[in-house]
């Protein structure tokens, strides 16, 4: 039995078939969490004393920001797994994770700007968290750009995995540096009420949304990985059989 052969081609098929079984449950879970969270958050939780209804964007902004950062680690770790153990599914997961993470980073930046306009009176401030998020966005773009630049698939996967790993070492340093930079330059006009507490009636829907976003992330990641698998394995009999069966 040739094990490298198993690693290279056997594994993606196994993942594809297993994930077909999981997917329906994940769909249901994601949809119910997101619907419950957003209905509760948008319709039933009370308006904020100072911000009115505009605060409700946190139900998208906060979970997206969480997942944007976690997604980078998902990408880098699967890249490392692919690099070290030559597991094909991991390489494909890394490929799939990059655009999802970039989109989430963009969503969190965009919702932050939308929230900033009524709250701070401007679309953009150089706040520590926003700046870090922007740099994270650049890191994602870099990994994607590097992957696209290579013509040889194998090399592209390995090279972008290395870049993602270098990024993970740097992310904590970048975050700390930007925090430090911000405390140095913090303008007196903008006051952050970080000590203000959030009411349980606002917090619970937020927690549900965060869990819902995790489920959504997992769902998106699996779906995209499945697409990458089909692309990669398009010449195999099982994919051809699948295509003919569903056509």
């Amino acid at each position: 039995m040739d094990w490298t052969w198993f690693h290279r081609l056997g594994s993606p098929r196994w993942f594809y078939e297993k994930s077909s079984v999981w997917l329906p449950y994940l769909w249901v879970l994601t949809a119910s969490l997101l619907i419950a969270g957003s209905v509760w958050g948008l319709a039933f939780s009370p308006a904020d004393a100072k911000q009115g209804n505009s605060y409700r964007i946190i139900y998208i902004h906060v979970p997206a920001a969480f997942l944007a950062l976690a997604g980078y680690y998902v990408m880098a770790i699967s890249g490392a797994v692919g690099l070290i153990w030559r597991i094909k599914v991991a390489e494909l997961t890394m490929r799939a994770a990059a655009p999802i993470g970039a989109v989430l980073t963009f969503v969190s930046l965009f919702t932050g700007a939308v929230w900033g306009k009524p709250t701070w009176g401007t679309w953009w401030v150089w706040d520590a968290r926003i700046t870090s998020m922007l740099i994270l966005f650049f890191l994602y773009l870099g990994v994607m750009a590097l992957h696209n630049a290579f013509t040889h698939e194998e090399t592209a996967n390995k090279a972008s995995a290395i870049l993602a790993l270098v990024g993970t070492v740097n992310i904590p340093i970048i975050y700390k540096s930007v925090d430090w930079w911000f405390t140095l330059h913090q303008p007196a006009t903008i006051k952050f009420t970080s000590e203000s507490t959030i009411d349980p009636s606002m917090l619970y829907p937020l927690l549900i949304m965060v869990i819902g976003f995790y489920a959504l992330y997992a769902l998106a990641l699996i779906l995209r990985t499945r697409v990458e698998i089909l692309k990669r394995e398009r010449r195999t009999k099982w994919v051809k059989a699948l295509a003919l069966g569903s056509a």
């Binding site: 870099g142 590097l146 630049a149 040889h152 090399t155 090279a159 290395i162 270098v166 700390k176 430090w180």
Partner: protein, 257 residues
């Protein structure tokens, strides 16, 4: 030392062991590797090549000078405004000048085939990468550091800012060269690597820029700056340990384009 390593069962069956080197085979020697021989040979070669094409050393410096000239033209010749901008501007431009020169770090070796020879050298690639980065720093970082005070004068940097400017650039450009080597190694096999290199490396330069520029501006406002320099030193130590590994790994991968 004689090497007689029995390999694990996964790679070798008992059958192939018996066909493997028998008694008449010369024992394999573990190479007695002199770590510095590869480092020294590559350092000597690269520094000779760099000195034979001295014009290339001047290019980042001229770039540095021209961009700094643009600042008063684009913003204001007023001394106070310039003094406020000086630390950040000098640092940003030094960063860009380093980036511009990084593309060639491994590319010339890739194009003439000596990169292949580097990769098949029995010497550890780590030290070879370090020696190439060291030459790169001597040819870009060091000249930038030395010319920076002139630009400080042009941007009316306060007197107390010069020492930290030189110190922070001397340490910081070393970090820039080391981190940049990773990007240069990753893009070496790509025809249009230059812009991509900047794209993937610049976000990683953020911490260096923050602490480097902050050391200078703190000092010029009369605040202590040793802390920032110490942090830059820590970055340098960390980059020296990790970056050559990443660059060496990247070279082994990207050479197969």
């Amino acid at each position: 030392m004689t090497l007689r390593i029995l390999q694990g069962p996964s790679s070798m069956t008992s059958d192939s062991l018996s066909t493997a080197p028998a008694t008449d085979t010369a024992p394999l020697e573990i190479p007695d590797i002199n770590l510095w021989s590869g480092f020294a040979a590559t350092f000597k070669r690269d520094i000779t090549v760099a000195f034979r094409s001295r014009g290339d050393i001047a290019n980042p410096l001229i770039f540095f000078l021209i961009v700094i000239t643009m600042v008063p033209l684009g913003i204001s010749p007023e001394r106070d405004t310039l003094a406020l901008l000086a630390p950040g501007m000098i640092w940003v431009v030094a960063l860009l000048a380093t980036l511009l020169s990084l593309d060639g770090l491994f590319r010339t070796d890739y194009e003439d085939g000596s990169l292949e020879q580097l990769l098949i050298s029995p010497h550890p690639l780590y030290f070879i990468v370090i020696s190439k980065v060291l030459v790169h720093w001597l040819m870009t970082g060091l000249p930038l550091t030395i010319t920076a005070p002139i630009l400080g004068v042009m941007l009316s940097l306060p007197n107390q800012g010069y020492m930290p400017l030189i110190a922070s650039l001397a340490i910081g450009t070393g970090v820039l060269s080391l981190i940049g080597a990773i990007g240069s190694a990753l893009t070496v096999g790509l025809r249009k690597g230059g812009l991509l290199l900047s794209l993937i490396i610049m976000p990683l330069y953020v911490p260096v820029l923050i602490f480097g520029a902050s050391a200078v501006s703190s000092a010029s406002e009369g605040f202590p700056f040793v802390g920032q320099l110490a942090i830059l030193g820590a970055f340098l130590a960390m980059a020296m340990i990790l970056a050559p590994f990443a660059a060496a790994g990247a070279l082994r991968i990207s050479v197969n384009g």
